[in-house]
Symmetry: C2
Subunit: 208 residues, 2 copies
C-alpha cells in the first residue's frame, strides 16, 4: 500500500495504520468533492487530520496516492456464478459499469492512466493495483465456461494468454469508452447487446 513495506520487525515508532486509512478515505472524499484536477495534497492532509509531510513520507505524489486510494474500490469486485457464460459476461460488464458510476473512480481512472503514459513506474503500479484486479474476473469467467463445456481448453498457453488479453481489452475498453467517452449509460439493454456480440464472436472462433 505504502511505498516501503516493513518486512519483519523494525525498530522505532511504527507508522500509524489509522493514518493510512484516514488518508486514503480523505483522498476518495476529495476526489468526489473536487475531482482529480482540483485535488491537492494540502486538502487531503487537512481532511485526514494529518500533516502534509506525513503524506509525502508515504507517497511520492498525487499520482501514487490516488492510485492506492482508488485501488481498494476494485477489491469489491466479485463475480458470482450465474450459470452460463453469457450471464457471467453480463455480470462482469455491469460490475465494471457500476464502478465507473462512482465519481471517485470516474474522475481518477482516466487521469492516472493519462499520467502513466509518461511514467513507467506509475503504470506498473496501476497494473498491479487496479488492472489485474479487473482481469481476475475475466479469467475466472473463462475457467467457469471451460468447466461447463461452453469454451474449450486451449492447448497453446501463449495463444490462450493472448486471447484472454484480447477479450479483456474488448470488455474493459468497451465499457470504459461507453461510460466516459460516449457518456452513455451501461444499462441492462446495452450490456445484453454487447454480450451477445462478444459471445457470437467467441462461438464463431470456436467453430472456425
Amino acid at each position: 500500500m505504502s511505498d516501503t513495506d516493513p518486512k519483519a520487525t523494525r525498530t522505532g515508532r511504527p507508522r500509524s495504520t489509522a493514518a493510512d486509512a484516514a488518508i486514503l478515505e480523505a483522498t476518495r472524499a476529495s476526489l468526489v468533492d473536487l475531482g482529480w484536477s482540483k485535488l491537492t495534497m494540502s486538502d487531503v492532509a487537512t481532511r485526514a487530520g494529518v500533516a502534509k509531510t506525513t503524506l509525502y513520507r508515504r507517497w511520492a505524489g498525487k499520482n501514487e496516492l490516488v492510485v492506492d486510494a482508488v485501488a481498494v474500490l476494485f477489491d469489491e469486485l466479485e463475480l458470482p456464478d450465474r450459470g452460463s457464460l453469457a450471464a457471467d459476461v453480463q455480470g462482469v460488464v455491469l460490475q465494471f459499469a457500476a464502478l465507473l458510476e462512482r465519481p471517485e473512480a470516474r474522475t481518477a481512472l482516466m487521469a492516472v492512466v493519462a499520467e502513466s503514459t509518461r511514467d513507467d513506474s506509475l503504470r506498473h503500479r496501476i497494473r498491479s493495483a487496479i488492472v489485474d484486479r479487473q482481469k481476475r474476473l475475466v479469467l475466472l469467467g473463462r475457467e467457469r465456461a471451460q468447466a461447463r463445456g461452453e469454451l474449450r481448453y486451449e492447448d497453446d498457453a501463449s495463444a490462450a494468454a493472448r486471447n484472454a488479453d484480447l477479450i479483456f481489452d474488448v470488455i474493459a475498453g468497451a465499457v470504459v469508452h461507453r461510460t466516459l467517452v460516449s457518456a452513455e449509460p451501461v444499462d441492462a439493454e446495452w450490456a445484453s447487446g454487447f454480450t451477445s456480440l462478444l459471445l457470437l464472436g467467441l462461438a464463431g472462433a470456436q467453430a472456425g
Copy 2:
C-alpha cells in the same frame, strides 16, 4: 476553433490567424516535450511567441486549448476502401492505433476525457472535435459493407444507431485500452485477431 467565431464582418482589428496556428502548434510541441501535466499556459505562450493574455482571450484554459490542438490530428484520419469489411475494420483499428502512437495524442486524450467527467461543456467540445471525427470512419465502413452486401440495411433507424454506437465503442474502446491501459502494441497480429472476433460476432448477429 476559438471560442467565438467571427460570423460576418466585425469591426476593429481582426484576430491573427497566424497566432492561432502558432499557438496550436506550440501546444502540440509542449505536449510532446512536457506531457499533459507539466504543460503550462506560460510555456505555450513563450513557444508560440505570443503573450499569455492572448491565449486567455481565445481559450478558457488548458483543457479547451489542448482539445483544439489535438483535434486537428484526427482530421488526418482516412479510410481507403480496401474491398472488404474485414480489411476496412482492420484499417480503422490501425488508424486509431497509429494516432495513439503519437506522444501528443497519448498524453492528451485520456487527460481531457478525465477532465470532461466533471465538465459538460468540455465533453461536448471533445465529442464534436474528436469523437465524431473517429466515428465517421466507422459509419463509412458500415455503409460500404452494406453496399457490398456484407451487412444488411437495417429497418429500424434507432436500432441501427444503437448498433453503430455499440460497434464504435467496442472498436475505439478496445484499441485505446490495449494501447494505454495494457500498454501493449496494436500490431497487425492483434488487429487481425480483434477483427475476426468482431466480424464473427457481427456475422452471428446477422444470422440470429
